[in-house]
């Protein structure tokens, strides 16, 4: 490798301090991330988070207000994308892209679409048209090679039969695949896909996953994709970057990102009560401007909370990561499809798992503690010391407080939940099926067992 590939030779694209402002609107604010070579990096975030803007900056359709976009090609050449024109980025830096709303050449045939993508090499071999016009054999050979290449990609996307039909005549899913094949015909090293699974049904989406994995494994092309379909993101991406309001809120493997409370808050929103609590927390942390606290709500407020409760912070996020991540990986590896299916029909399968495991008898009157609370609620923590519920993935500081208010302090309490308890808990946590989805009960059982084996204080101290 050439020595110029400095700090990180595995990064194909480095986005550093990227900002994009449209007048007063800040679409991207000081964004930093890296796309690794030979990996699939997903860029996710709620609507309007600035994902497509990032794409447009990378592919040169927008000139970023600030920041540096470094593309490192396999041969070691480095390109500063923010300084290049859009077509040069594809031509020289080898970055290809697709569009959120499909942009095929609908009046050209499928084959012609793929040939247009090979414009630059064909242009060279046709001697900038002049030699080709005079019928030189170099062009003829290049033209037939181009058709062969197009055929290769058509076979990959199962469209050989329809090669001579107009692209506009294809069904939607096929158009999406064709657009990817067309981008691949430019021989890219980085393929940027803007919502490739949008509008696809489950089968087409699975085919797309396979196609993208094939592209990554066979051609070594790195992929950067924007996607809303979590089954696609979680299944194929090696690395996920989450944006909200133009800022990165999370970055890591799919599993860590999926369980990041900030990401969950960004996607599912935060309750009004929580806003009030967060403001209180912010005030406690020394912020006197209420609006500033509200602004911090979705992302930085969580940091504030951690600062406000320094005793809780280390245990909350960091120590829990290794153990639970390993566990989560195991489950996703075992049944990736089931997991995504469970997302949709959340409550039902969860209920059945709970039923099948009869737990310790905790039959008490639900009305004893608080109306609507779970059956095994306690008035106060046993021995005056509550377990750190936040260790359970999916429980953030806000939820922990809520649970405490409703008399849930210990892991074994959660482990003992039944279907009715889950429904009750979800009601006051304003969750919809997430307790089952994130397997709180299973997590709680494990943690309960651990806390029996090892004394609690030691665990808190050993933040590994």
């Amino acid at each position: 490798m050439v020595s110029e590939v400095q700090n990180n030779p595995t990064a194909i694209l480095r986005v550093e301090r990227l900002s994009m402002k449209f007048g007063g609107l800040i679409a991207i604010n000081d964004l930093n991330f890296e796309a690794k070579r030979g990996a699939i990096t997903a860029l996710i975030g709620p609507n309007g988070a600035g994902k497509t803007t990032v794409f447009n900056c990378i592919t040169g359709f927008y000139k970023p207000t600030e920041g540096m976009l470094t593309m490192t090609r396999q041969n070691g050449e480095e390109y500063l994308l923010e300084r290049m024109a859009d077509f040069v980025i594809t031509k020289k830096a080898k970055v290809a892209r697709t569009f959120q709303n499909i942009r095929l050449f609908s009046g050209l045939t499928v084959l012609e679409n793929l040939l247009v993508a090979q414009h630059n090499p064909l242009m060279l071999s046709s001697g900038f048209t002049i030699l080709g016009l005079l019928g030189f054999p170099t062009y003829k050979k290049a033209a037939s090679d181009a058709i062969e290449k197009a055929r290769f990609w058509l076979e990959k996307i199962n469209l050989v039969e329809r090669a001579d039909d107009p692209a506009g005549d294809l069904p939607y899913g096929a158009q999406r695949r064709l657009e990817i094949a067309r981008a691949m015909c430019t021989d890219p090293e980085l393929l940027c896909l803007d919502e490739p699974a949008a509008g696809l049904n489950a089968r087409e989406s699975a085919e797309l996953n396979k196609l993208l994995l094939d592209i990554r494994d066979e051609t070594g092309t790195s992929i950067l994709l924007i996607e809303h379909d979590m089954s696609v993101v979680m299944e194929i991406s090696d690395h996920v970057v989450v944006l909200e309001y133009g800022t990165k809120i999370s970055d890591g493997t799919p599993e860590t990102v999926k369980n990041d409370p900030k990401v969950i808050a960004a996607y599912l929103g935060v309750e009004d009560e929580e806003v009030v609590e967060l403001i209180e927390q912010a005030e406690a942390a020394g912020l006197d401007d209420i609006t500033a606290a509200v602004d911090l709500l979705s992302t930085e407020a969580l940091h504030e909370i951690e600062e406000a409760h320094p005793d809780m912070a280390p245990a909350a996020l960091i120590p829990s990561a290794p153990a639970t991540v390993r566990r989560a990986r195991a489950t996703t590896a075992k049944k990736p499809v089931v997991k995504s299916a469970a997302d949709k029909t959340a409550a039902k399968p969860a209920a059945s798992t709970v039923k099948s495991k009869p737990t310790t008898p905790t039959a008490k009157s639900p009305a004893a503690i608080k109306p609507g609370a779970t059956a095994n609620a306690l008035a106060e923590p046993r021995g005056g010391k509550a377990d750190k519920l936040i260790v359970i993935k999916g429980i953030g500081p806000v939820n922990e407080r809520k649970l405490n208010q409703h008399g849930i302090f210990h892991f074994d309490q959660i482990a003992a939940w039944k279907k009715a308890d889950i429904i009750a808990a979800e009601a006051y946590l304003a969750f919809d099926g997430r307790i089952a989805r994130e397997d709180w009960i299973g997590q709680a059982k494990k943690l309960a067992k651990q806390s029996q084996v090892t004394p609690a204080p030691k665990k808190t101290g050993g933040a590994k």
């Binding site: 359709f61 594809t90 942009r103 095929l104 009046g107 012609e112 080709g132 016009l133 090669a163 430019t186």
Partner: protein, 465 residues
């Protein structure tokens, strides 16, 4: 009519009669004052009211009977036809269509001789054949072919690249004036100036292209329109060089490998021992323009299979997608402008050689509009369609001069040529209603894997500028 209604209240015939009468009444109402009366000044400068009931009756009858025929016969017939068409196998038609370009080309190649032979047989003398053929070779053959060539040239810009150019005649003018000026001032020959005129026009195409690169659609059309007018106004006002509205006359004629088409002893006719006639030059010009037009077609066909041609069409379909595929849209647009302009320049120098006289009068906006209309009517991107459209439009207007019988209907004052634009517009409306994408709306793909299938016009785009 009442009887008819009683017998068949819903019959097509009754409906047709009703609509015919209504149309007649409407026509009467419309034309009663406009056509029925006419004021003239008599010899004592007094206004006299002339009544023209006969002419009014003709107008009303034409409207009424026309409407009647349309409702009673033509509409049912076309409906039945379209029904049958769906059932009928298209093979027969496509076989004819496939061989149509070849048949057409063959006819074009023998056209002058065919005309001479027919007229020879008709008049009984070779001189009658030769002199009589002048009109057909010159007015029809050459005139149509010039427009075919211009339209094919414009087709590259509008039909393939989707850039709406309303000032195409400017390049025609550049070609014509560069031949006229360089041949009169420097005495350069036609064969040298023909490519030079093309190159000059291409340069002007690039000069036009640069400022309009960022423009699309309507804005592009307006700027190209302005460009066409600028060229014309410069030609009018730069009198030192162009002699303004007087134009440049006495432009040297083209020669065949140095053999001039003059009546003298060194002339073409004398050398070959043929009877003296001006028709040889016309036939020579006919083949010259045919050759130039075929060159345009050949280059267009070849370019469509080149990456640049595909890039043009891709540009027409979606410019942003083009850029995302690494295509430099700037140079792509400029090459389209330059190539189109080059053929305009060729046609212009030919025009100057043919007329022997150029003036700004020949390069008005109307010419641009006619060329564009031919491209649109023929079907953007289709060479055959455009050739047919040119033949219909230009040949049709020429044919109007021949329609002497119209004078017998509308009176001796009636000059059908004056209705040229009216009929032109009418024909355009009819064609656009009948075939919204022009005569040949389908697009032929430039490459295929299994089988060449025509791309239906519903998928192709017109371009956004």
């Amino acid at each position: 009519m009442a009887d008819v209604q009683k017998i068949e209240p819903d019959s097509v015939f009754a409906k047709a009669v009703k609509e015919g009468l209504l149309a007649g009444a409407l026509a009467f109402g419309l034309f009663f004052l406009i056509v029925g009366f006419r004021t003239d000044q008599n010899i004592r400068n007094e206004l006299v009211l002339n009544q023209r009931w006969g002419l009014l009756a003709i107008f009303v009858l034409v409207a009424g009977i026309g409407r009647f025929l349309l409702t009673a016969y033509i509409t049912p017939w076309s409906e039945a036809r379209s029904k049958n068409k769906r059932a009928a196998v298209e093979k027969e038609q496509s076989a004819f269509r496939k061989s149509f370009p070849k048949i057409g080309l063959g006819l074009l190649l023998i056209y002058p001789f065919l005309v001479i032979l027919i007229l020879w047989a008709y008049n009984g003398s070779i001189m009658g054949g030769l002199q009589g053929s002048l009109k057909y070779v010159d007015n029809f053959g050459i005139q149509i072919l010039i427009y075919v060539m211009l339209a094919w040239g414009l087709n590259i810009v509008v039909g393939l690249a989707g850039l709406l150019d309303l000032g195409y005649v400017a390049f025609y003018a550049v070609g014509a004036y560069s031949y006229a000026l360089l041949s009169t001032h420097f005495g350069l020959s036609f064969w040298l100036l023909l490519p030079m005129a093309g190159i000059f026009a291409a340069l002007w195409g690039i000069m036009l292209g640069f400022p309009v690169l960022r423009l699309r659609g309507d804005y592009l059309a307006i700027v190209t329109l302005a460009f066409g007018e600028i060229i014309r106004l410069v030609l009018i006002n730069w009198t030192v060089v162009t002699k303004g509205t007087f134009g440049i006359s006495g432009i040297a004629k083209a020669t065949l490998f140095g053999i001039p088409f003059t009546p003298g002893p060194t002339g073409f006719a004398a050398l070959l021992g043929l009877p003296n006639s001006g028709v040889y030059y016309k036939i020579f010009l006919y083949y010259l323009i045919l050759l130039l037009a075929l060159l345009t077609a050949w280059v267009t066909i070849r370019l469509r299979r080149m990456p640049i041609g595909r890039a043009w069409e891709a540009l027409r379909e979606d410019e942003i997608a083009c850029r995302s595929l690494g295509i430099n849209t700037t140079t792509t647009k400029l090459t389209a402008f330059a190539t189109g302009a080059m053929f305009g320049g060729f046609a212009g120098s030919f025009f100057a050689a043919r007329q022997g006289f150029v003036s700004p009068e020949s390069f008005v906006f109307l010419e641009s509009a006619i060329i564009l209309a031919i491209v649109v009517l023929g079907g953007m991107g289709s060479l055959v369609g455009i050739a047919i459209a040119a033949a219909v439009m230009i040949g049709g207007t020429e044919l109007l001069r021949e329609l002497e019988f119209l004078k017998r209907i509308f009176g001796p004052d009636f000059t059908p040529e004056l209705y040229r634009m009216l009929l032109f517009g009418l024909a355009m409306i009819v064609v656009m209603v009948w075939k919204p994408r022009g005569f040949v709306g389908n697009r032929e793909p430039s490459a295929f894997l299994h089988k060449r299938k025509m791309v239906s016009s519903e998928f192709t785009k017109e371009g956004h500028g």
